[in-house]
């Protein structure tokens, strides 16, 4: 199994290069692209499996009752693999690949979404499909590097290199203003990269007190955990600020979000699916890897107030802005902004529940938003526009399967219980509830706002009169979805139901890694075995009648309580 991680990166890398140089018109390139993407899905499933097995064997983080960490598991659930680069002046730069539950989840998401992008691009990207698929695979390789990197250098290389092929996708296919939009994307990226680089250099220097420098996450976080107190806050503050800016731009944190709607609109919807589902998560993943474990003192001091508040504002701002949009893609773009707010809200509550919710929500938002943008791609391919007014309503009458799936993912996105997003939103909200109830209650307003724009959109596009005179574009486009498309969306839909009905599976998958981060901030909360004092005695499951643990002074209230 040890070869999975390098293979995950090499397969799309080689596949992408071949497709780029291959004949742009070859019909076989469609099949080849699907096969490469399919192989990567299988590889990512193997990774999920091996991480899962390791989680089962190693068990959860063990923390003693007094809050002291008794045993520390190796940082990664998946054994790291090492690469060494020897510099001329005898400095050896160690680089490591590894995957924990969070990383494995993101790898799986990336592979799945890339497959979906290629499956849907086959019918919607009509020019230079071969190069399109090639760039998709190359960006996939870059994204995977980020997720499985275990050190600053690889992380950053992947972080920036993934953006090159994405840039080619953005400025190569899409609306007429795509070149300008691509330029703005680059400017934002640069604006984010410079603080990132400075922060990383700062991190390496900050934790080189004993004379040795390291770029490995594991060693850096060990050193970071020793730094506490006011002085640590001060020394970490500027790194925290730079990271918040650099990563914040990537996650479109307010007010640095304007690249997002314009890019999401100008690109072809399949590109946008990749951007919204995976690329948006890079920044959040960076928060998990770089910020939370490496500058904990500063995070504790500033993150909940600053970034948590921005998250709560984003939930409302994004949803309200979505109500004003008239383009399908823009509505979804602002909805992404709103949903990403929940991730911030949970993450910067710094509680175990909130962090777990944030991790879940990264994955959940990935699958629902990818599905929505892929479906929008299918709609654009059929009616030729994403302007809500120009789409004759009643699409569901023409494309029943498309309609069913559209409604399914609309409700998943709107946080319907039983589907995935509800779990993440619930956890992020309850996490923030213990930290700052006002922010959490502000976030609750997303429940109505999110449903509002989503259902209004569904009403305008899917339902209403069948307009039989309207001729939809070319005959083969007028068909409902094809097999690879149905397969992708079915897998995404099954994941939605699975996580929604059995969220504990997903929680257990990431709990060990999230628990470690949560333990930095809540040493007591991670304790698993303190005795209840005046606890309301939740009688163990299986006992037939748990009521009647009442005091003797059974007042009327107690009598009523007994019912």
């Amino acid at each position: 199994m040890s070869g999975i991680l390098p293979m995950l990166i090499i397969v799309p890398l080689i596949g992408g290069v071949i497709l780029l140089v291959a004949d742009k018109q070859a019909a076989s390139s469609k099949r080849a692209a699907l096969v490469v993407a399919g192989v990567n899905v299988i590889l990512s499933l193997l990774l999920i499996g091996s991480v899962f097995v390791r989680e089962q064997v190693a068990g959860p983080v063990a923390v003693a009752a007094d809050g002291a960490v008794a045993t520390i598991d190796p940082l990664m659930s998946f054994a790291p693999q090492w690469l060494s680069v020897r510099f001329p002046n005898d400095l050896t730069l160690q680089m490591a690949l590894g995957a924990d539950g969070l990383a494995a989840g993101m790898v799986f998401l990336t592979a799945l979404v890339s497959f979906g992008v290629i499956a849907f691009a086959q019918s919607s990207v009509t020019t230079r499909f071969s190069s399109y698929a090639g760039w998709v695979l190359l960006s996939q390789a870059g994204l995977l590097v980020v997720f499985v990197s275990m050190d600053l250098v690889l992380f950053y290389l992947g972080f920036e290199l993934a953006l090159l092929p994405l840039l080619a996708l953005i400025s190569g296919w899409g609306d007429d203003d795509r070149a300008a939009v691509g330029k703005r994307f680059v400017l934002y990226t640069l604006a984010g990269s410079i603080p990132m680089v400075l922060a990383l250099v700062g991190l390496v220097n900050l934790y080189s007190a004993d004379g040795t420098q390291t770029v490995l996450f594991e060693q850096l976080s060990m050193r970071a955990s020793k730094a506490t107190g006011e002085s640590a806050v001060q020394s970490q503050a500027w790194i925290f600020g730079l990271l918040a800016l650099g990563l914040g731009i990537k996650v479109a944190i307010l007010p640095f979000h304007t690249w997002m709607p314009s890019t999401y609109r100008a690109s072809v919807p399949t590109t946008t699916a990749l951007l919204a589902a995976v690329v948006l998560k890079l920044g959040f993943f960076g928060f998990f890897r770089l910020m939370l474990p490496l500058v904990p003192a500063a995070v504790e001091a500033y993150a909940p107030t600053v970034l948590g508040t921005l998250g709560a504002i984003a939930i409302i701002y994004g949803a309200v802005a979505a109500l004003a949009q008239t383009d399908l893609r823009l509505i979804l773009a602002y909805s992404s902004l709103s949903h990403a707010g929940f991730i911030s809200l949970g993450m910067f509550s710094l509680s175990n529940e909130g962090l777990t919710g944030a991790a879940l929500q990264m994955f959940n938002h990935g699958i629902t938003t990818a599905a929505m943008f892929l479906l929008v791609g299918a709609i654009v391919a059929r009616v030729g526009t994403s302007e809500v007014k120009s789409i004759e309503n009643g699409l569901a009458s023409y494309f029943p399967l498309l309609g069913v799936l559209f409604m399914f993912f609309t409700f998943a996105g709107a946080g319907m219980p039983g589907l995935n997003n509800f779990v993440g939103e619930l956890l992020t909200l309850s996490g923030m509830m213990t930290r700052n109830p006002v922010l959490a209650l502000a976030g609750v307003s997303g429940v109505i706002l999110g449903a509002w724009y989503a259902l209004r959109l569904a009403r305008k596009v899917m339902f209403g009169a069948e307009t039989s005179e309207k001729k939809y574009k070319k005959p083969h486009h007028a068909a409902d979805l094809d097999t690879p498309q149905i397969a992708t969306l079915s897998v995404l839909a099954i994941l939605c139901v699975l996580i929604g009905c059995f969220p504990q599976l997903a929680v257990n998958f990431v709990q060990k890694d999230i628990g470690r981060i949560a333990a930095i901030y809540n040493p007591v909360q991670a304790t698993a075995s303190a005795t209840p004092e005046k606890a309301p005695a939740n009688v163990p499951e299986g006992s037939p009648n748990p009521v009647s643990v009442l005091e003797d002074d059974s007042s009327d209230a107690a009598l009523i309580a007994n019912r």
């Binding site: 640069l190 007010p255 701002y317 777990t356 779990v423 909200l429 609750v444 009442l550 107690a558």
Partner: protein
């Protein structure tokens, strides 16, 4: 008994899954009603067996299921918790739903969405059952939303019709608005329970038993928090139970197929809010101000609903507003439970009326469905009359439902209304709130007068007078098929006897009251007489009530015919301002964007070198960036 508990939700769930498969299959579509029939029948039989075999009592029995979610201090088990109130509610839900499903086989025959209808119907019942038996407030909320989703799918069943699609959206969003408050209340309560317990162990803070156990501590330490929780839960309840001002979704909900209206109005959706209040009554006993609010909202709703119903020409719309009005009575009952020692009786009275109302309202809607079927989907009472001879069986059935609704003794509605009014009347001497109870009693009696009037009026306009049928009905409108009549006879039987039996035997009390309580307050003979006078007066009013011409009618009639312009009020107070805010935010966003674009022009002005790069391929930027980065990272080590 507890072994069979899971069968009640699982049977409809399996029916739903089979139904979903049938939706996508090309064969077996016309027998798609079978899985739903079987599933609902099994659920109903298990409920009835449990109910009849039950000794009564109010102890809850918890049957564990599985742990849905457990992270840190969030622990949510999905378990079945069955007590007297829940059992009664479950029986009503499953039995009425089964009868509606039988009827729907005839009503929906030949519809292209036939399997979809039955799949969603099963899902609806499944959600409702889970809502009732869940042992955890959050799980209740989850299925509460599920009920909302199913109602959306059923109301918008004929999604090609713009009116149906709009009604579905409206129903869902109005409910969601209330649910937002509900969820906030749940989070607050979760937070509060955590505050009064020092345990760090994972335990289900939102389990009902946990909540009820910590209530005394919560009430003494955080009374304000508890009031807020109560208020927010009440908002959730008035959303689902269509109370003022959230009732606007319910009358539009009849855009769905008629069996759906019967289901939503009688057995499932609208009773959820009442059930929530009954379930949380231990908490509400600490927050009399919330119950007072419930009483006021109920009283207002009862009067508004009754008045508006009087001026509708659409038979189903009359029934819809009648539901709004009757649910108002249930909320008045909760108001009557303001004094904690009276709250259990308030719950009994509310459950009683909920039960009888489920029988006769389902009956009325389904007979209206028969009328609609015979009249070629026309339901406007101005277009038909004298159907007594055309639809003899439907006529009798409708008449029974109407008499029960109007409160004619000895039919069901009379007794259950009587127990609500009796509770109020018994307390009018209360030194603190006596005048309040008297006010509600008067408003309730007035709404009864309105109920009798609009019910008899609708009956007379539809079935009496000269025979008139619309052109859509064809030449020979005929009576409904046996499958559409058989369930109605059962409902009619329930509408006749259920009230008297329950009133005389006090059968509900043994399920809903703690064992050693005093005798429930009954109405006096005076109240009986007043009620009967009201019914007679209502009948008289209905006979003389004029039909208004839309153009020439006075302003208040126009207002009532237009539902008091509450839809418009909702629009101008809530929807329009939000939309303006949205447009403003959109404009701000464009402005921020233009600022950024201004910055993007800086490199162009910075000189020839940069300009050349900019005019080149955009990716050269990125290449520059990547090279720079590698250099910078390397620098950190040198």
């Amino acid at each position: 008994m507890s072994n069979l508990v899971w069968l009640i939700p699982v049977a409809p769930l399996l029916a739903m899954l089979v139904g979903v498969v049938l939706c996508f299959s090309s064969r077996g579509r016309e027998s798609a009603h079978l899985p739903t029939w079987v599933g609902l029948l099994v659920a109903a039989v298990v409920c009835l067996m449990t109910l009849l075999g039950s000794e009564g009592g109010t102890t809850a029995v918890v049957t564990p299921g599985y742990t849905w979610l457990s992270v840190g201090s969030v622990t949510i088990p999905i378990s079945a918790r069955l007590d007297g109130v829940g059992l009664v509610q479950l029986t009503v839900v499953t039995c009425i739903s089964f009868l509606v499903a039988v009827y729907a086989q005839g009503y929906m025959k030949g519809d292209p969405g036939y399997p979809r209808f039955f799949a969603v119907l099963s899902a609806f019942v499944f959600s409702m059952v889970m809502l009732v038996i869940s042992s955890n407030l959050l799980v209740l909320y989850a299925f509460w939303e599920g009920v909302g989703l199913c109602s959306y799918l059923l109301i918008g069943f004929w999604y090609q019709r713009p009116s149906a699609a709009n009604a579905a959206m409206k129903a869902f969003l109005v409910n969601r608005l209330a649910d937002t408050a509900f969820l906030a209340g749940i989070l607050l309560l979760w937070h509060g329970v955590g505050k009064v317990t020092t345990s760090t162990t994972a335990f289900a803070r939102l389990d009902f038993d946990t909540i009820f156990n910590v209530l005394p501590a919560l009430a003494s330490e955080y009374p304000n928090l508890l009031s807020w929780v109560g208020f927010l839960l009440l908002v959730g309840a008035i959303g689902k139970s269509a109370q003022f001002p959230f009732h606007v979704w319910l009358p539009d909900a009849m855009e769905g197929p008629t069996p759906v209206s019967a289901l939503i109005h009688a057995a499932t959706m609208v009773t959820a809010g009442v059930y929530l209040l009954a379930r949380m009554s231990p908490l509400l006993s600490y927050t009399p101000e919330v119950l007072q609010l419930a009483g006021w909202l109920g009283a207002i709703t009862a009067v508004i609903g009754g008045s508006v119903a009087l001026f509708q020409d659409d038979l189903k719309r009359v029934l819809a507003y009648s539901t709004v009005s009757q649910l108002g009575l249930l909320f008045i009952a909760f108001g009557a439970g303001m004094n904690p020692e009276m709250l259990p009786f308030a719950v009994v009275a509310a459950m009683f009326h909920l039960l009888t109302h489920a029988f006769f309202k389902a009956l009325l809607f389904l007979t209206a469905g028969n009328v609609m079927h015979a009249m070629g989907d026309v339901i406007d009472m101005r277009k038909f009359s004298g159907l007594k001879s055309v639809l003899p069986a439907t006529h009798i059935l409708f008449l029974i439902g109407a008499l029960a609704l109007a409160g004619v003794p000895p039919l069901a509605g009379f007794w259950s209304k009587e127990s609500i009014f009796g509770l109020l009347a018994a307390q009018i001497k209360d030194p603190q709130h006596g005048s309040l109870f008297l006010t509600w009693l008067c408003m309730g009696l007035f709404s009864s007068l309105l109920t009798a009037t609009y019910t008899f009026r609708a009956y007379m306009r539809t079935f009496q007078g000269e025979v008139k049928t619309p052109a859509e009905a064809g030449d020979h409108p005929h009576e409904a098929t046996p499958v559409m009549l058989a369930p109605l006879y059962m409902l009619a039987a329930g509408s006749v006897v259920s009230g008297l039996v329950i009133y005389l035997t006090g059968w509900l009390d043994k399920f809903t009251l703690p064992p050693e309580t005093v005798e429930a307050p009954h109405g006096s003979w005076l109240l009986f007489v007043v009620s009967m006078v009201i019914v007679v007066a209502g009948y008289g009013l209905a006979r003389v009530f004029p039909t208004f011409d839309e153009k020439k009618s006075p302003a208040f009639v126009k207002a009532l015919a237009n539902r008091l312009y509450l839809d418009e009020l909702f629009y101008y107070l809530l929807v329009a301002p939000t939309q303006s805010l949205a447009n403003l935010v959109g404009a701000i966003d464009k402005f921020v964007d233009s600022l950024i674009r201004g910055v993007a022009h800086v490199p162009t002005a910075a000189g020839f070198q940069l300009r050349r790069m900019q005019s080149g391929i955009v990716s050269s930027y990125a290449l520059t960036m990547a090279v720079g980065i590698v250099l910078l990272v390397a620098l950190a080590f040198l």
